[in-house]
């Protein structure tokens, strides 16, 4: 038993350290050595907490915290990191990866050495012999050309048989991928059907000066805007991920193509979150006041039935509503047409698309508002109303001076929480309107009903002109800040630690 008590923590902390090393290695590769090191120190610290008898309770906590660290906290940190880069289409690789790739490129210098060649095969394996212009025949061995015979290719070589001339060209596709590196940084590659030629490495990176030299044109390429750039401004593809400082944030203010849609999306997000929260709680409160009546028949059944929209997974209801609101053949428009002779362009005009969002989100959200209000109403002490009645107060006087003030203190934090929830209510926006209709006067991925979070999604995953992870992460950070401010405000009005906010 005692043995078990000592071995278990040691084993446990070893496992944590191993996991730590493993993930540190990966994170170090992805995000840089510093992050790998930080992550390793965190896991190492965790394993110390596990080992030490005084911090024994951490043994219960570490697994949860480790998971949270990798899949929640790290993404938050990573988002912040990405926001200060140009990460996106055309800028996916790191600078050293781009340099590595460029340094593999070769060029054919003038007056280079050309060689005729013969192919030898042995089963699936092939070898090449080369003949220069003066008839010397070489084999390639250990980065060197070694003279073996003169004048004619031998018919057999080291157990390999020569491939006859007429079959030679069927091997061309194999030869095209061959690249022999020689000692002096040159490469032997196929230059035409009959010749191998001596190629030189085209791009050479000079770390001290942080430039790439193009040996073909003798130009110095300097890193600028995520590309190695020639003196005439031409950019070398691929580009690399680069720290760009505040540029993404400045684009939100200064670059018209970004700042205009951003501002509109931002204002609509606030209007949407405030409007839909208010509407849902007004209706929810109204229903709760109706239902908060001991004498009301079927109260239990009504409550269960009215709660149904809350029980259906939202994405299903939303997809159904898209069908019902279809402009041409949807049920809603058919009913409206037969009753009033009108057809409403639900998803085609901004105003109507927004009305549709409010109505559908009312359908989704009033059961929650009603439940919360009902709970709050039932917690108001009955005596207050009785003494009010004794004093001769009417129903509306009671409502105004007892019910509403007490209710608002109880559901205030929930109102704020619902506002925050709708601020990020991706599902409703994306599944119902997908942000449509598009902004007609600006060329952007954002539509007139997009909110910040759906705009972020489109920038990162749907961009028509490529993905812009940097800008998407920047907008995420702005959303972070807004939500954090709202939440802190919420703690403040509800009393720190007294309530827990948000459901996911």
């Amino acid at each position: 038993m005692d043995l078990y008590k000592t071995i278990f923590p040691i084993l446990y902390s070893i496992i944590i350290v191993v996991i730590g090393i493993f993930f540190s290695y990966i994170i170090g590769n992805v995000a840089g050595i510093i992050w790998g090191l930080i992550f390793f120190l965190v896991t190492f610290f965790f394993s110390l907490l596990i080992l030490h008898p005084k911090t024994y309770p951490w043994r219960y906590i570490v697994p949860a915290f480790l998971l949270m660290f990798i899949f929640m906290i790290y993404p938050i940190i990573y988002t912040i990191q990405i926001a200060f880069t140009n990460y996106g289409t055309g800028h996916i690789l790191t600078k050293s990866q781009v340099i590595e790739q460029l340094e593999k490129e070769t060029y054919l210098p003038q007056n280079t050495q050309n060689y005729e060649y013969a192919i030898y095969e042995n089963g699936n394996k092939i070898k090449i012999l080369l003949k220069d212009s003066s008839g010397n025949i070489y084999k390639i061995d250990n980065k060197k050309l070694i003279l073996i015979v003169k004048e004619n290719f031998p018919s057999e070589f080291e157990g390999y048989k020569i491939v006859p001339r007429e079959k030679k060209f069927s091997k061309i596709s194999l030869l095209q991928n061959l690249k022999f590196e020689l000692e002096d940084n040159s490469f032997l590659q196929l230059s035409d059907l009959n010749h191998f030629s001596l190629y030189k490495q085209r791009y050479v990176y000079i770390p001290e000066e942080d430039v790439i030299i193009d040996r073909l044109t003798n130009e110095r390429l300097i890193p600028k805007g995520g590309f190695f750039t020639r003196p005439n401004g031409e950019k070398l593809i691929p580009g690399f991920v680069e720290f760009v400082g505040m540029e993404n944030f400045l684009r939100l203010i200064k670059d018209d193509r970004v700042s205009k849609p951003f501002l509109r999306v931002f204002l609509w997000t606030i209007f949407w979150a405030a409007g839909t929260t208010l509407l849902n709680f007004t209706v929810g409160l109204f229903l709760a006041l109706l239902m908060n009546d001991k004498n009301l028949k079927f109260k239990g059944i009504y409550r269960t039935l009215l709660i149904v929209p809350w029980a259906i997974p939202a994405f299903i209801s939303l997809l159904i509503w898209v069908g019902l609101l279809n402009t041409e053949v949807g049920v809603v428009n058919r009913i409206l047409f037969s009753l009033f002779g009108i057809k409403i362009p639900w998803f085609l005009e901004t105003t109507w698309a927004r009305v549709a969002l409010f109505v559908v989100n009312l359908w989704l959200g009033y059961p929650y508002a009603m439940t919360v209000c009902l709970g709050a109403l039932q917690s108001i002490p009955e005596e207050l109303y009785e003494s009010a009645k004794v004093d001769g107060a009417s129903y509306f006087q009671q409502l105004r001076s007892i019910t509403l003030p007490l209710l608002l203190t109880a559901i205030g934090p929930l109102l704020v929480g619902t506002f925050a929830f709708n601020f990020n209510n991706f599902n409703v926006i994306y599944l119902l309107t997908a942000g449509k209709p598009p902004m007609s006067d600006i060329s952007t991925v954002a539509g007139t009903t997009d909110i910040l979070i759906s705009y972020t999604y489109k920038l990162a995953f749907e961009g028509g002109r490529g993905q812009d992870y940097g800008l998407a992460a920047t907008i995420s950070i702005i959303v972070f800040i807004i939500i954090a401010t709202i939440s802190i405000f919420n703690f403040w009005i509800s009393g720190m630690f007294k309530r827990e906010v948000r459901y996911e």
């Binding site: 990966i26 309770p57 906590i61 949270m68 149904v308 809350w310 159904i320 991706f426």
Partner: protein, 281 residues
């Protein structure tokens, strides 16, 4: 006097009925579409002229059962693992005093304000890179998706569960410890059995939350054979309302029914869990 009150209630019933009609409007039309002969939106009537079950038998061909299978794998695993990891951590936070407790709890409180979707760009890129080293945690894997859900749900649920554990008197545990039980045995044999309500709340809300998620699943899963119900259903119906409405309706009903039944049957439990200062719509 009594009669007067009953008459007064008639307007209440009328108003509630108006809302019931609003509530069941999409439900009724979907049920009707799912049993109506013919597939499109055009010309649908609330009471179908010809009733058929063909849309339900079509479900096998459109991949519905594969979506549901994937959704269940992801949601059940997420629910079980969430309860496992969270209950361990919540137990320590509730029953021990130790170095770092206060600041850890504060950190959790701050972290739970951020929904996982705000880090979606980073989550996508993280899985993309992870997959190169650990294939089963990469993009387009159910296990990678599970990890993302797991990590995101931990802070809030620790707080929720800790609150419940706090209400269990320490004396119960103490007597077990005096009888020679270890702390882990006390957790396992005393605390957990007493906490079934909160364990079920966390399990069920994680299950429903995961089952209903569209965003993260759509980012992570690209291969149709990996689609969860949310992603599969969206891609199936998107832009195809005029021909696939009937099949879609059948899939919606079968896919929603288990959740609706679970939610309504356990509504008191779930609602108490969700409205504990929480927001879900």
């Amino acid at each position: 006097m009594k009669k007067n009150k009953l008459i007064l209630q008639i307007p209440k019933h009328i108003i509630i009925w108006i809302f019931l009609i609003f509530t069941f409007f999409p439900v009724a039309w979907t049920i009707s579409a799912s049993i109506r002969a013919g597939g499109g939106l055009v010309g649908q009537k609330l009471i179908p002229e010809n009733i058929t079950l063909e849309h339900y038998s079509n479900l096998k061909d459109i991949g519905f059962f594969n979506w549901i299978k994937n959704s269940l794998i992801v949601s059940v695993t997420t629910a079980i693992l969430t309860v496992f990891f969270v209950s361990l951590a919540a137990y320590a936070f509730s029953k021990f005093d130790f170095w770092g407790k206060k600041y850890s709890l504060l950190t959790l409180l701050i972290l739970q304000m951020f929904p996982a979707i705000m880090g979606m760009v980073a989550v996508y890129l993280l899985l993309y890179h992870l997959g190169k080293y650990i294939p089963f945690l990469g993009l387009n894997t159910l296990s990678g998706l599970i990890m993302v859900y797991l990590g995101g749900g931990i802070p809030y649920n620790i707080w929720l569960m800790k609150g419940f554990f706090d209400s269990i008197p320490d004396s119960l545990e103490e007597s077990a410890l005096i009888d020679g039980a270890t702390r882990f045995q006390a957790y396992y044999k005393i605390i957990l059995p007493l906490s079934t309500p909160i364990l079920s709340v966390v399990a069920i809300t994680s299950f429903i939350g995961t089952y209903s998620d569209f965003l993260l699943a759509s980012i992570v899963l690209k291969d149709p054979s990996k689609y969860t119900f949310a992603v599969g259903l969206r891609n199936f119906i998107s832009g195809m309302y005029d021909v696939r409405w009937g099949d879609f309706a059948a899939a919606s009903i079968l896919g929603a029914l288990p959740i609706v039944i679970m939610f309504l049957a356990l509504q008191n439990l779930i609602v108490s869990g969700l409205t504990r200062g929480a927001v879900k719509e």
